[in-house]
Symmetry: C2
Subunit: 201 residues, 2 copies
Amino acid sequence: MAGRPRAFDREQALRSARDAFWERGYEGTSMADLISAMNISSASIYAAFGSKEALFREAVADYDANDGGFASRALTEEPTTRAALRRMLVDAVTLFTRPGKPRGCMVVLSAPRCAKENEGVSDWLSVQRRARHAAIVRRIREARDYGEIKPEADPEVLADFYTTFLQGLSVQARDGFSKKQMMASIDSAMQVFDAVVQHPS
Amino acid sequence: MAGRPRAFDREQALRSARDAFWERGYEGTSMADLISAMNISSASIYAAFGSKEALFREAVADYDANDGGFASRALTEEPTTRAALRRMLVDAVTLFTRPGKPRGCMVVLSAPRCAKENEGVSDWLSVQRRARHAAIVRRIREARDYGEIKPEADPEVLADFYTTFLQGLSVQARDGFSKKQMMASIDSAMQVFDAVVQHPS
DNA sequence: CCTATTTTGGATTGATCGATCTTGAATGGA
DNA sequence: TCCATTCAAGATCGATCAATCCAAAATAGG
């Protein structure tokens, strides 16, 4: 069962679409933009990805599987919760200020507001953000279970604080705040964790 | 010099437009949406406001002159910088979770990303955010000048931290985090300021 | 009254939106 | 070779975009 072979690389086209969406958001990126960014025709896009929305969701999935997965990587790969939270924020700032890449997180900035007919996309992004938040909650719960932080510390409150700060970094990056500036404010944010660290007596 | 009098209240129509834009963002709100929200015809909108973009800018100005001005009010009306920062955050959360109103800040969420032809709008909103940040910097510099915080504390770093956290609250509100949750994380954020407070010896 | 001026609703503009159709090219298996 | 199948380029779809035009309606001044 064969036929004419595809003349473009699907993964490469997806990455081009991802960067286009990352730069201009879901509604801000038109099919015409995608056609020129992916360098293939409209028909090819629909044959390979189904629709603009399906393409966007694949693009976000790709983002999340690579650059955008900084949070889950940091949260699972670091030995201590403090190191995990700090690395999550540092990696975020590094990603959000990478030269030649759009500034800020694709999941945060692509569609916080949108037309009624695109609410599904906006809400789906919200679910992605909440999943990231849930991972942060889990990691901080571990910190309490293993005695890294004081037993009276509230993991949910701490997680809410760090999620809020993380979301804010996207807006700051969008507004042109420097990598150095944002790295410095991470030091401020870490003081909140340090206040509940359980020190060996 | 007269003519047929205007049959609608301009301020009320502006407020309706403001809420529509606040809810769905700049690009997500179409002229058809505005026509039904403001309950006047397209021609009337253009006669009274000039263009969709001009209407949006007036809507943001109205937002800023009322609800959206919570930050400058808090920063100028409170006796201490700590109280000012805290009230700024509390008022933000209160506004962002007001029943019957869109969740999150209009200036933050309306157009962080957009089509190339609307970049002017997005950048203008960015300028608004930077102005708010500048006000925070000014207030914290005062705190150091008047000895409210330690002389070695860096006002810029502190301001960056609070601006980042404030921007994050909009995203959190958008994602349905509760007023109670966000108020609790404000307490966490205030620890950063408390760490540099100059205590009377 | 008449005229100049402004606003109104509704029709309509060209452009662009996302999506599809048509037509022909490119393949593998029979 | 012939055919079923898949892909691609470009034209094109109806819908919607922001914006404007037009003619009727409503006022103030003379």
